[in-house]
């Protein structure tokens, strides 16, 4: 790692912009002292450990490199282990980061934090406006990952990042699950993480599409069925990759009200995903009419054959998040094998 020299903070910030090391917003200058302070917050992680190779530039990224991006993003040192977990997750070969970074799709990385790490003060936002402005942990933890993707992965627009339009979630997209407001066990447990452990899940997504639903109240089962259908139809929105045969992943953030309705109707996370999977589909004829082809079609499908938008029920990440209100949100994903959910432990000094 090269050490740059500047006369003052202002000149250093401009230098980092000029070198293409930022996301376009002002950054905190990563002085050696600040980077050391970041590293000191996680003494149980070796600074020289190579966390992964960040595609497509294939930069070998050490813990210290990640600390530089965390400082630049404005992260508080207490959250540094979460940033490390983000980088570990996206560097997992199962995430296919090279494709996520280089695609013309607008893929951002949604990171979901579960367990006690959400509560390290200041706690991650999980409720009202959790994905919006004003929450420093969410804003900076997600931004730190983006800076790693830019600086180690080369993901600058027009160079490695060829997203046709991009999207705001590429700046930051990090949320904690509202475990305390959820009728179900934490999402991370459905990913095989033991209860009480902190974990992070990364999944490549489009921006969120809202689902507004006020329970009608005729019966809990009927309201739950409406939520299932609305989520399914939002995942299978025409024009999404998932709706032309790519059949990949998606995420849904259920507001506590919607989650409670589903739980009252005896849905758990698994049965909800299964129900959504069945309904999130388009007919082959409709896909052919709109797109001209069905991805992966070998033998011609009958027009009436339903093509699922999800690769499987397990390809739907279901979390509970958000505050009071009647809005949930769906995040469409990419194709099967690209940006699918990867979950990793967040290391702590108790490990």
């Amino acid at each position: 790692m090269d050490l740059l020299h500047a006369l003052d903070e202002s000149e250093a910030r401009e230098m980092l912009h000029d070198l293409g090391c930022t996301d376009g917003l002002p950054v905190v200058v990563p002085t050696p002292e600040r980077v050391d302070e970041m590293l000191a917050a996680a003494p149980f992680i070796r600074p020289d450990e190579v966390i992964g190779v960040v595609a497509p530039r294939m930069g070998r990224t050490t813990v210290t490199d990640v600390a530089v991006s965390a400082v630049m993003a404005g992260c508080l040192p207490v959250h540094f282990p979460i940033v490390v977990a983000e980088v570990r997750a996206v560097c997992d070969p199962a995430f296919a980061l090279g494709v996520v970074q280089g695609t013309t799709h607008n893929a951002a990385v949604l990171t979901i934090v579960n367990g006690p790490a959400r509560l390290w003060p200041p706690a991650l936002a999980t409720a009202t406006g959790a994905l919006g402005p004003g929450h420093r942990p969410n804003a900076t933890i997600g931004r730190a990952l983006r800076l790693v993707l830019i600086n180690a992965g080369g993901a600058l627009p027009g160079a490695a990042d060829m997203s046709t339009l991009g999207q705001p979630a590429k700046f930051t997209c990090c949320i904690g699950e509202a475990e305390e407001d959820s009728p179900w066990p934490p999402y991370s447990q459905s990913r095989g993480i033991a209860a009480g452990r902190s974990a992070l899940t990364a999944i490549a997504v489009e921006g969120p599409s809202q689902i507004m639903f006020v329970p009608i109240g005729d019966s809990v089962a009927a309201d739950a069925a409406r939520i299932v259908e609305l989520v399914a139809r939002t995942i299978a929105v025409p024009g999404a990759l998932a709706s032309m045969g790519y059949s990949g992943s998606a995420a849904v953030a259920l507001c506590p009200l919607h989650a409670d309705v589903l739980a009252a109707a005896s849905f758990d996370r698994s049965s909800f995903s299964a129900a959504v999977y069945v309904q999130a589909a388009h007919s082959a004829g409709e896909i052919r009419r709109l797109h001209g082809f069905i991805r992966g079609e070998r033998d011609r499908l009958d027009d009436a054959t339903l093509v699922p938008a999800l690769a499987s029920p397990e390809h739907l990440a279901v979390i509970v998040a958000g505050g009071a209100g009647t809005y949930s949100a769906v995040f469409c994903g990419l194709s099967d094998g690209v940006g699918d959910a990867v979950t990793t432990i967040i290391e702590t000094d108790n490990e």
Binding site: A55, P56, M58, V99, Q101, G102, T103, G154, A159, M162
Partner: protein, 78 residues
């Protein structure tokens, strides 16, 4: 991105390969090929976009690049 990655996989099997790259994606192809250790991966540039530009244009582009494609494949075969 996928074009270059797939081409490199084929090249590593000692099979002659040439990647067809839209001109808007040329810079990305250079970066990816270099990062994956095959900066001399044979590539031929064509004007982007082809999709939806019609059969006549496809024919024109094919005629324009076919000699480069064949030359690259012959070089790769040596």
């Amino acid at each position: 991105m996928g074009t270059v990655g797939d081409s490199i996989k084929i090249a590593l099997l000692n099979t002659p390969v040439v990647a067809l790259i839209g001109d808007k994606f040329w810079e990305q192809s250079v970066l990816v090929a270099r990062a994956q250790g095959l900066s001399d991966l044979p590539r031929v540039k064509f004007p982007y976009p082809l999709a939806g530009s019609g059969a006549d244009n496809l024919q024109r582009v094919a005629v324009a690049v076919v000699d480069d494609v064949l030359r690259s494949l012959r070089l790769a075969a040596r």
